[in-house]
């Protein structure tokens, strides 16, 4: 029967691969499927970090081996690869994965096996609540709304704001709710708070209401395709003020769809590729050279790199490739990485600054950094 042949083949493979003098780190990302571009960027970021550490002599005197597995952006596949990396490859730590729904299928497996893991980009709050072995390298959704409000109030000097968001999407809804809360707390006024249905392309009803309320700024927490349409239609209706949004705005297609309408728009992001801090400059230079590309690495690549870096740093400080020790070291992280200085709070979410990106002359330009 077929399965036994496979089992036998797997057993031989395990026997052959045992006994190597390496530290194995599991990497997970969707390099195929709907989120393939995210997965590839993340994988590149992880690979670059591992290669840089290996060039410096590895960690704990051993070479680091990245065992990467594709999760297809599918929770079922995710559960399988987490099990594979832990049980089959016996990795000491995990870096992954990109999409929250897949991370949520994998996190309980890592937690049960006491293998520390750090997700580079899963923003769902529930991810780190799975247990004390689960960390993440990105800020979570509520944080972006807060940072957006601070930027609008302090930097843009806005005193009145309006929100527009997708009612059928937790991400955009969460961002707007938190923006509203933070903006009110700062002393501003939210003059309009408009939801639109998922999948609509005509936002004029909501925008007309918003523009009549004369806000200083519009907070739009949608994804880039909706953002571009909203900006275009708002400009047609005569709105000239600024837009502020979240990392959903981050796409090269934003300007292609929105054109001149997305000028004077700002969004919070994990990092800015054109920031002038030494960490960013080195990262962008090395990334371009390593992967022979002229495009600046996106936020996913930066977070994949950061997540791997944070994990390796924790292993180094733990002094031993042991789950409990690494977990404890991770919790005490205080490290400067590409996306800023990272520390973890009690819920294993990072406390770090957000970059504000401005659309200027059809390009994404780094504007400022806002601390939480």
């Amino acid at each position: 029967m077929r399965p036994y042949a496979f089992v036998a083949a797997l057993l031989v493979f395990v026997a052959l691969s045992a006994g190597a003098q390496e530290i194995k780190i599991g990497g997970i990302g969707p390099v195929t499927g709907e989120a393939a571009t995210f997965g590839v960027s993340t994988k590149n970021g992880m690979t670059l970090a591992v290669e840089e550490w290996n060039a410096k002599g590895g960690v704990l005197g051993k070479k680091i081996k990245l065992v990467f597995a594709d999760d297809k952006g599918d929770p079922a596949e995710g559960a399988t690869v987490y099990t594979k990396l832990i049980q089959q490859d016996k990795v000491v730590a995990l870096v992954g994965t990109v999409m929250s729904k897949v991370t949520l299928a994998g996190a309980p497996i890592a937690q049960a096996a006491k293998v520390p893991m750090i997700s580079p980009t899963s923003t769902n709050e529930k991810v780190t609540q799975v247990g004390d072995y689960i960390f993440r390298a990105c800020f979570i959704d509520p944080f972006q709304g807060t940072v957006g409000a601070k930027f609008a109030y302090n930097d843009l000097k806005a005193r009145t704001a309006a929100c527009i968001f997708d009612v059928g999407n937790d991400y955009t809804k969460g961002l707007s709710e938190n923006f509203q809360k933070a903006f009110l707390a700062l002393g501003g006024k939210v003059v309009a708070y408009e939801a639109h249905p998922t999948g609509t392309t005509d936002f004029k009803a909501q925008l007309t209401k918003i523009i009549q309320a004369k806000p200083d700024v519009i907070y739009c927490s949608d994804y880039y395709n909706d953002d571009a349409l909203i900006a275009t239609q708002a400009r047609e209706l005569g709105y000239t003020g600024p837009f502020v949004g979240g990392d959903g705005w981050d796409s090269a297609d934003l300007v292609k769809i929105g054109g001149a309408a997305v000028e004077n728009c700002f969004f919070t992001n994990h990092y800015a590729p054109d920031a002038t801090t030494p960490a960013v400059l080195t990262f962008v230079k090395n990334y371009k050279a390593r992967f022979k590309t002229s495009d600046a690495p996106d936020a996913l690549a930066a977070l994949g790199y950061d997540a791997m870096y944070i994990m390796l740093d924790a292993i180094k400080r733990a002094g031993k490739a042991d789950g409990v020790k690494i977990k404890e070291a991770l919790a005490k992280t205080d490290l400067a990485v590409v996306s800023g200085q990272v520390k973890f709070d009690a819920n294993r979410n990072p406390i770090k600054a957000a970059a504000i990106i401005e659309i200027k002359g059809g390009k994404q330009v780094y504007r400022t950094t806002v601390n939480p």
């Binding site: 797997l10 594709d70 559960a79 399988t80």
Partner: protein, 336 residues
């Protein structure tokens, strides 16, 4: 009582169960391989139940995962949201789990019947489109119910599914569907596949039997969905979309339309192939230092499927059954 005598099948099943348990307890197969076996068995349930609809009855359903979604969400909601049990609760917990799984199956069967009456008067391509639409409707509905997590999915489902439960469910599915196929009702189903008009003229209530096939198929798909949810500890709308249904469909066709044996073999073969390729590609990349990564796995997987279909158009088993899946003497029974 003839239809419930299953000595050989039970014997083989028991031997398989004992072997896997023994290998697992002695540590000869690790959690990873155990997980793939569990997953394969869930796909056995899905493929065998879809085969009842597509292979035995000759209908073309593209929405099988929609039924699985109903099962996953109903059972998940019962264990996670209503009773809030976990495996630590001992017997009571497991009782709720089994009850939840059965309730999920029944809910899926009910949906199968509801969908069945209006749509099963359709034939061929039109039915395929309706079932495809149905699968997408289920997905969209789940996306818009905040109580079960909406687009974030139903999270925190306790991990009740284990090899024993999944194996028992797969075994029962096989026995029940095999017995159904071998009964006079089964003959009616096959007659619909062979010639619906002739079957109708011969006095077979074709609509009723089609609904029966859908209801039974949906029931087991719901069971599989429930087990899947309690294995992965998450039920997400995107898992149960069109691509999921297509994967099960591929299993039915590579195994052989109308052959339950084929579905069982294909469910195992394709699940193990998908994972085996991971290891093959990784070791190949390491040995040759070629820039090939995980993304090539799906290319090769698809190519292998193309080759199977090119060289064995009728599927691995055609319409043949393994002897132990046939009641009585297959030689006397003739072809089906």
């Amino acid at each position: 009582m003839k239809h419930f005598r299953t000595p050989k099948l039970s014997l083989y099943a028991l031997a398989f169960y004992a072997l896997i348990m023994a290998l697992s307890l002695t540590g000869l197969i690790n959690g990873y391989i155990q997980h793939i076996i569990n997953q394969s068995l869930i796909y056995v349930i899905l493929a065998v139940s879809l085969n009842l609809i597509n292979g035995i009855t000759g209908q073309f359903s593209l929405g099988h995962m929609g039924f699985a979604a109903v099962g996953a969400y109903v059972s998940g909601a019962i264990t996670t949201l209503v009773f809030k049990v976990s495996p630590e609760a001992g017997f009571a917990g497991y009782a709720v789990f089994v009850g939840g799984i059965v309730a999920g199956g029944l809910a899926a069967a009910l949906v199968g019947v509801l969908i069945g009456f209006p749509s099963l008067r359709l034939k061929g391509d039109y039915l395929a489109i309706v079932t495809l639409g149905f699968g997408e409707i289920i997905k969209t509905v789940l996306n818009n119910i905040p109580a079960v997590g909406g687009p974030r999915g139903l999270l925190g489902i306790p991990k009740f599914s284990n090899f024993s439960f999944i194996f028992a469910a797969a075994f029962l599915t096989l026995v029940v569907i095999r017995n159904l196929v071998e009964s006079s009702h089964g003959r009616a189903l096959v007659s619909i596949r062979e010639n619906e008009l002739a079957a109708e003229l011969a006095g077979v209530d074709t609509t009723r039997y089609k609904v029966l096939a859908f209801a039974v198929g949906a029931f087991f798909a719901g069971i599989a969905g429930g087990l899947f949810g309690h294995l992965l500890q998450i039920a997400h709308p995107t898992q149960y979309g069109f691509m999921g249904s297509v994967l099960v469909l591929i299993m039915v066709y590579t195994g052989g339309v109308g052959s339950l044996t084929g579905s069982v073999i294909a469910a195992f073969a394709l699940t193990f192939m998908s994972e085996g390729l991971r290891i093959v590609i990784d070791s190949l990349a390491e040995a040759t230092s070629l820039p090939i990564g995980g993304e090539w796995r799906m290319v090769i997987y698809a190519l292998l499927l193309v080759f199977i279909m090119l060289f064995r158009t009728e599927g691995l088993m055609g319409t043949k059954e393994a002897r132990f899946l046939v009641i009585g003497d297959p030689a006397k029974e003739g072809t089906r």
